[in-house]
């Protein structure tokens, strides 16, 4: 939303890696494991993505929504804040904050169309109620910065615009992790460029040196991204269909533990 990241509330709100991905005590009591917690967050990120596709919003609205979603669960429990309602409400809030409002009734309509599972379906009043709760949970800090703009500028500067497609996809996938809550967006962009250049066998050492950024941070972020892919491949075992049904089962089991609705 704003042009200057360093003076923003987003910058001041960055967390330490230890502060994210911690299962809330209330959820823990219900038996939610860290793996399940992570899985639900990935699953709901995908849910936001799919709903967003239906109502046709810009990429940054999706990214902002996912950031809100992940930020909420560094502070609140999934037991009290049903992720299936929080996810679309984050999208609703993000669409307003990014000045491309999506009507609540449209969201409700498309979710009903998309989701046969009754537990994902909500009424307008549920979304409006959750909107107020989320504003408090987010402490009304709504300005979020994303790696996309920095990515394009950096690729231009590095004369590597041929990596745009692959690194853009990598940035998209970082939202399946909590990286956006921990690192400045341009560092995430750099990590994605770094991975893309390695994948495409591009020599970038000199360029990175010239940037004078902390390469350790870039490499840490890169490792996290690669770990994310690896964990998925691990669960995958090369059989996409089996993976899909297996994760669905896992997610349902995890959500059932929280016993909501």
């Amino acid at each position: 939303m704003a042009a200057n990241f360093w003076t923003s509330s987003h910058y001041k709100q960055l967390l330490d890696p230890e502060q994210v991905d911690v299962v809330n005590p209330i959820d823990k009591e219900k038996g939610l494991t860290p793996e399940e917690f992570k899985l639900i967050k990935i699953h709901m990120t995908n849910h936001i993505w799919r709903v967003a596709q239906q109502v046709k919003v810009r990429q940054r609205v999706i990214a902002t929504a996912v950031t809100y979603f992940r930020r909420v669960y560094t502070r609140k429990s999934m037991t009290e804040y049903d992720p299936r309602l929080v996810a679309p409400t984050c999208l609703y809030l993000a669409s307003k904050a990014e000045e491309s409002t999506v009507q609540a009734r449209l969201l409700v309509f498309y979710i009903k169309k998309m989701c046969p599972d009754e537990k994902y379906r909500f009424e307008i009043k549920d979304i409006l109620e959750m909107e107020m709760k989320l504003l408090e949970a987010l402490d009304y800090y709504l300005v979020v910065f994303h790696p996309y703009r920095a990515l394009l500028q950096l690729l231009q500067d590095a004369n590597m615009t041929d990596l745009t497609h692959i690194s853009w996809g990598l940035v998209n996938d970082t939202y399946k992790t909590d990286l956006i809550l921990i690192y400045p967006p341009h560092m995430i962009a750099l990590a994605c460029i770094y991975i893309a250049s390695v994948l495409k066998d591009k020599e970038t050492t000199a360029w990175f040196e010239e940037l004078r950024v902390d390469m350790n941070v870039v490499k840490n972020i890169s490792m996290e991204i690669l770990n994310f892919y690896e964990s998925r491949i691990e669960a995958f075992k090369g059989i996409p269909e089996a993976y899909k049904s297996m994760t669905e089962e896992k997610i349902n089991a995890a959500l059932n533990k929280l016993a909501m609705k």
Binding site: M1, A2, A3, N4, T7, S8, S9, Y92, L93, K96, A97, E99, T101, Q103, A104, R105, I124, I127, L128, E131, M132, L135, E136, D139, Y140, Y141, L142, V143, R149
Partner: protein, 302 residues
Amino acid sequence: MDAYEKLEKVGEGTYGKVYKAIEKNTGKIVALKKTRLPEDEEGVPPTTLREVSILRMLSIDPHVVRLLDLKQGQNKEGKTILYLVFEYMDTDLKKYIKSFRANHSLIPSKIVKTLMYQLCKGIAFCHGHGVLHRDLKPHNLLMDRKTMMLKIADLGLSRAFTVPMKKYTHEILTLWYRAPEVLLGATHYSTPVDIWSVGCIFAELVTTQPLFAGDSELQQLLHIFRLLGTPNEQVWPGLSKLPNWHEYPQWTPKNLSTAVPTLDTNGLDLLSKMLQYEPAKRISAKKAMEHPYFDELNKAYL
């Protein structure tokens, strides 16, 4: 909302009432801005969200009104209400100017200077954070009569800008302080629109009269042209391509001092830099702070 007790209604904002209130625990006087959520099914209005999130970011500068807290409450019908809790300021620039005008007296030039410096500083801060105000006017500038502290308020219409600039809705500014590019229908405008408003406020502080008091967009333009001369492609390249531009009566520029006779040379120079036709030539808020007009101020205390 039990933490505050309303004392009196002090104003009606763009989208809600403003009350003077007391924080029961501390006895502190605050301003409560009440935002009733609309009856329709769209929750918190985007304008409110925008103001809140921008204030969350800017409310750390001494010249931006401080947002102390946000509270959710319910009215008698059970509808949700959002309260923005601001520090209380006892007056605004509109009332302040009016008090002098009513007495047929002028605001002492030293006070004009200190108010102008704070205004430039606050605007420089907003612009530095990527935020345009877009609705600067004396009514939106809060003041403390005792300390002569000035604070920018009502950022409801402001929005963060990104470069390159996109199209903004242009039915926004109060006519009197509206920049010519906005009046002429420019869709790509930026920080200079705020500087134009600052220039108009500057002149009004000096004379206690609005500089360009038009009652329609056309009248507003003609007021401007009458003083500064009808602009042309030489003084403002690209002018003729603006959507609302057509042939206007031709006036030659008058000396600015005819409009603000009591302003000194440095002040006139600064004012003329704020009222440049071509937006890119208009002085920035940051540069304005360094202008010799402010040299005699003790800036350390502002």
